[in-house]
């Protein structure tokens, strides 16, 4: 009987995974952004140039700016690509996109997503099925796999906009799953590999570092939960260090040998870009910029400000990368770094002094991701996925987490809308967004129907407000006379509105982490 249950279990999972894979195939002819050309160019660079040239090549403006493992990944792909179309591997063939190139690149994303599917499968294993109902659609496992596999953000960023986030998040989820399974070394190894694929994951590295140090290297706690200093295991510490160093050596070693490390790092961390992306990511700085704009308008109205002194770019923001503040002090990279560190610190302290096992680690990881999203320098709106995906794991566990997850996800996903601005993709993004939002809200509501309602009136009205906002921005505004005068208004409205929601979710999560009593420990005692 158990075997039978297992069998049917495998069947619904493979149906879900296959279903979403087929949907991805249907998305092949959709619009793709310049990232498509970026990755084509990297294929060409890694295929046709020696390693020593990889981080120096600049025929195209889209130079290689991901860590070496990703370059190797493109190198491997390029050896498949040559059977599709040799021309795409020429570095001088800028903006080349034959139909075979398109097919190859889209399918490369779809195939590498297999790792993501496997990771989701692993993550679903440790979801406790104690309170699971008999009904399949109400099982936490089922809900979690839908939330991860059919994630709206991942679908549109990877399979429409074009990026390779799927297998990278697969690596991350897999390493989280390994930590939950107490296979710490494996988890650490996977995360180290991930870091050398895409360095944006550095944002969550503090959580990994502190968790492994606190809960793996220290083998025992005092009865009150505080650290027992003599339990420090050097063997574990050294094996961790060895793994990280070996992975780094494998990745950066060749470039160290070639004496190119400074060049590689200058490509990986370009601080020349502005505080905000062309479209403001919905974070703290979006609110800051908006406040600055409001103040400057008020100042101009009340004649407190001299119009000549106001920097011109500030009135056409959204078009210019460098944003100069009119009233509030301008923000430097160092300031954002300090803000980010300050925002991360409490969660790290929490992880160190109030260890709650892997769940506590997961919360800390999400807080790290969210905090750096809130205060980081030149944050992309896509970075919200770094918080949304791990948060899905938490959402099926507790009603409180589910409520935060839903607010964060819905606003975060809505803030991805400006990524797709072409008319044929408008119905797709609205339909998929509705699909994911309706499913996530109703399934989690059903899961936690015995507890108090997930949203209060304020949250409900905020989420419902996204509907009118979308109608205004994409259906009414283009037909008004403001379209030419203030083309940036829809983007500004979207990012400010979403910033409110994400800040709220961040705040709520922080409060719940800080005020959470040591439930696990008291139970153990």
């Amino acid at each position: 009987m158990a075997a039978l249950g297992n069998l049917t279990g495998r069947r619904w999972f493979s149906a879900l995974a296959l279903g979403v894979t087929l949907l991805k195939c249907l998305l092949i002819p959709t619009y793709h952004s310049t990232d498509f050309e970026v990755h084509r160019n990297w294929l060409a660079i890694t295929h046709s140039l020696p390693i020593s040239q990889w981080y120096y090549e600049e025929t195209s403006e889209w130079t290689l700016d991901y860590p070496p493992f990703f370059a190797w990944f493109e190198y491997v792909l390029s050896h498949v690509a040559k059977y599709f179309d040799q021309e795409m591997l020429n570095t001088h063939n800028l903006n080349y996109s034959s139909s075979r190139t398109l097919l190859f690149q889209r399918f490369s994303v779809i195939f590498t997503d297999a790792l993501f599917v496997y990771a989701v499968h692993e993550c679903c294993k440790w979801i406790d099925g104690k309170k699971a109902s008999k009904e399949l659609t109400e099982k936490p496992k089922f809900i979690l796999s839908v939330l991860l596999l059919w994630n709206f953000g991942l679908l549109i960023v990877d399979h429409i906009h074009f990026q390779y986030n799927g297998f990278l998040f697969g690596l991350m989820l897999l390493s989280i799953a390994r930590l939950f399974q107490k296979r710490h070394l494996e988890g650490a190894f996977l995360f180290a590999v991930l870091l050398h694929f895409k360095h944006i994951y550095l944002y969550v590295a503090p959580a990994y570092g502190v968790y492994l140090l606190r809960s793996y290297c220290f083998t025992a706690n005092k009865p009150d939960g505080s650290i027992r200093r003599n339990s420090f295991s050097f063997v574990r510490f050294i094996s961790l260090g060895l793994i990280v160093c070996l992975v780094s050596a494998l990745s950066l070693g060749p470039f160290l040998a070639l004496n190119q490390l400074p060049q590689v790092f200058s490509r990986l961390f370009p601080f020349k870009r502005g505080l905000c992306h062309a479209y403001w990511a919905p974070n703290f700085w979006a609110l800051y910029n908006a406040l600055d704009k409001v103040l400057s308008i008020i100042g101009l109205q009340l004649k407190l400000l001299d119009p000549k002194k106001i920097p011109k770019a500030s009135m056409t923001s959204g078009l210019v990368q460098q944003f100069q503040h009119a009233v509030l002090p301008s923000v430097t990279p160092l300031a954002t770094l300090i803000c980010t560190l300050i925002a991360i610190l409490p969660s790290i302290f929490c992880l160190w002094f109030k260890p709650q096992g892997p769940r506590g680690f997961l919360r800390c990881l999400i807080l790290c991701a969210l905090s750096s999203f809130m205060f980081g320098w030149h944050v992309h709106e896509k970075a919200i996925l770094l918080a949304v995906l791990p948060m899905s794991l938490l959402s099926v566990g507790k009603a409180g987490d589910a409520s935060i997850f839903l607010i964060l996800t819905t606003t975060g996903h809505y803030s991805l809308f400006p990524l797709l601005f072409t008319a044929p993709e408008l119905p797709i993004k609205i339909l998929l967004m509705l699909l994911f939002t309706i499913y996530s809200i109703s399934s989690l509501k059903t899961l936690f129907r015995k507890e108090k309602p997930l949203f209060n009136w304020m949250e409900t009205s905020y989420l419902l407000g996204l509907g009118p906002l979308e109608v205004c921005c994409e259906f009414i505004f283009p037909f008004t006379s403001w379209k030419l005068k203030y083309p940036f208004i829809p983007l500004l409205l979207t990012s400010v509105y979403c910033a409110v929601g994400i800040t709220y979710a961040w705040f709520k999560l922080y409060i719940s982490v800080l005020t959470d009593p040591l439930v696990l420990k008291t139970k153990k005692q």
Partner: protein, 507 residues
């Protein structure tokens, strides 16, 4: 009850698939001078908008009937007119008389696709959802998965959103008709079905079961009392709705006749292109089209059609039941498709609709049929460069059916509704117990054959002497399947309902 939230999710999945398919190419894209059905629909907008009603169906200097002349009933023309008004609002160039011929642009494609999407959303999908919700003796979950499978049926999606047609309108009206008649709202049901006929004359494939079912209902109520009143009411509804639809064409006798001539073009031959019906398949061995004179072809095809659907129709008239009605719809539409005159490959959709409605009752055979029906349109879909969406949507449909109905475990005699048939055969042949196994094996063979043929058509070049080799083989194989299904459905109709009572005695 809390599971109902899955219904909007399922509908949204269906809509997403529809829209993503619509991003692909359409029939006749960039192929002057005739283009394809996409251009035909655009041309009808141009004609209906710029010419007076009187000239719509006539060959004039402004309306060359050789170039996609209007050959659908008035409702299609009105729909084109409505779309034309919207087009005029957005960009008048799209429907300018003469100059807009062969107009193609991304924006126009988007507009045309949107009109299909809206029509589908307004007519077909609500009817489908309502139908699934009204299913009796099924759990909520089953109703929802049933809706998902029907929404994902690839044939309709590919023809409407890929090839470009408005089948969802006529099929949607027909579905409203079926729904109404099955729920005893006979007048509304027949009104909806009249609209369907007046949108596409091919809906006549469904008309006999409607007629027999309603007539049977009248008989049941007693022709001297309530039944007669109902009959009169139905007749009035049908006549009134036809008159309203045809009002502008009733002014002159010549108008009406001309429309009818356009709707039933007898001189276009027994069949067109490659169709998976008897005549086209038979053509491989014997060129009937050239040997026999036209009027004899008409008579032969009429006789065959009439004979093949007669038993099911008589049975339905004598014992009208919603379930029998659905099965008779399948077998009648299939008879028309296989034997009647001037059939298009797309007409298989008219059979697929009632098969979708019995998906819940006989999941295994229905899924099989729906797969074959999509496969039978392969040559058309390949011509429109829709290979990728066809393969993907077919796989999605198959996975949806396989997971939600677990079709492979449901091949017992009872699940196939063949129990009473086998029992009566066993009276003569006691060892007749291998039917389910045979059907399972046939299914496997058929799927393998379909996959292989698809692969061959896509990868291999046909020999120079026989350029149509693969499409003929595809049609021939599909035709064999359809004959098998015709026999199967007729067996179910003839045996299963009569023996509903007897079964209890036997058990």
């Amino acid at each position: 009850m809390e599971k109902w939230y899955l219904m909007p999710v399922v509908v949204l999945i269906g809509l997403t698939v529809r829209w993503t398919v619509s991003l692909n190419s359409y029939s006749g894209a960039g192929k002057p001078p005739m283009f394809g059905d996409y251009e035909a629909q655009r041309h009808w907008q141009e004609i209906t908008f710029n010419l007076p009603v009187k000239q719509w169906y006539f060959n004039t200097s402004d309306n060359n009937l050789q170039y996609w002349g209007l050959d659908y009933p008035p409702l299609t023309a009105y729909h084109s007119l409505l779309c034309a008004y919207m087009a005029k609002f957005i960009n008048p160039d799209w429907i300018a008389l003469h100059t807009s011929r062969g107009y193609e642009s991304q924006a126009h494609k988007l507009f045309m696709r949107t009109t299909v999407f809206i029509a589908d959303l307004l007519i077909y999908i609500p009817a489908l959802i309502l139908y699934c919700c009204c299913l009796k003796e099924t759990s909520t979950k089953r109703k929802i998965t049933n809706a998902l499978c029907i929404l994902l049926y690839p044939g309709l999606i590919l023809i409407d959103y890929g090839h470009f047609q408005y089948n969802s309108v006529s099929l949607g009206f027909a579905l409203w008709g079926i729904l109404g008649v099955s729920c005893d709202w006979d007048l509304l049901g027949s009104l909806a079905f009249c609209l369907a006929i007046n949108y596409k004359q091919m809906e006549l494939y469904h008309s006999l079961p409607f007629f027999c079912f309603l007539l049977g209902k009248c008989f049941k109520k007693g022709l001297k009392g309530k039944g007669f009143v109902l009959l009169i009411k139905l007749a009035c509804t049908v006549v009134a709705s036809f008159i309203v639809c045809w009002l502008p064409f009733f002014a002159e006798r010549e108008q009406t006749l001309q429309v009818l001539r356009r709707l039933f073009p007898v001189d276009r031959g027994l069949f067109e292109d490659k169709v998976a019906n008897i005549w086209c398949s038979f053509n491989v061995f014997l060129k009937i089209k050239d040997i026999l004179p036209r009027h004899i072809q008409v008579i032969i095809s009429f006789c065959f059609t009439f004979l093949s659907l007669l038993p099911a129709c008589i049975k339905l008239t004598l014992q009208p039941s919603p379930k029998g009605f659905r099965f008779t719809l399948v077998s009648c539409a299939l008879s028309f498709f296989l034997f009647s005159f001037q059939v298009h490959e797309k007409s298989i959709l008219l059979v697929s609709l009632p098969v979708c409605l019995v998906l819940n009752e006989i999941p295994f055979i229905s899924t099989w049929f729906l797969l074959v029906s999509t496969f039978s349109m392969l040559p058309l879909l390949l011509k429109d460069e829709l290979l990728m969406p066809s393969v993907v949507t077919t796989m999605a449909f198959f996975i949806a059916c396989a997971t939600s109905f677990s079709i492979f475990e449901k091949t017992s005699e009872e699940e196939l509704q063949l129990k009473s048939f086998s029992i009566s055969v066993r009276k003569c042949l006691p060892y007749f117990t291998f039917l389910p196994r045979i059907i399972q094996h046939l299914f496997l063979i058929s799927v393998i054959a379909m996959v292989l043929l698809t692969l061959m058509t896509v990868t291999l070049d046909p020999p120079q002497k026989l350029p149509d080799l693969f499409s003929v083989v595809v049609c021939f194989v599909s035709c064999l399947h359809f004959l098998f299904f015709l026999v199967y459905f007729n067996i179910i109709i003839m045996w299963d309902f009569r023996n509903g009572r007897n079964q209890k005695k036997i058990n």
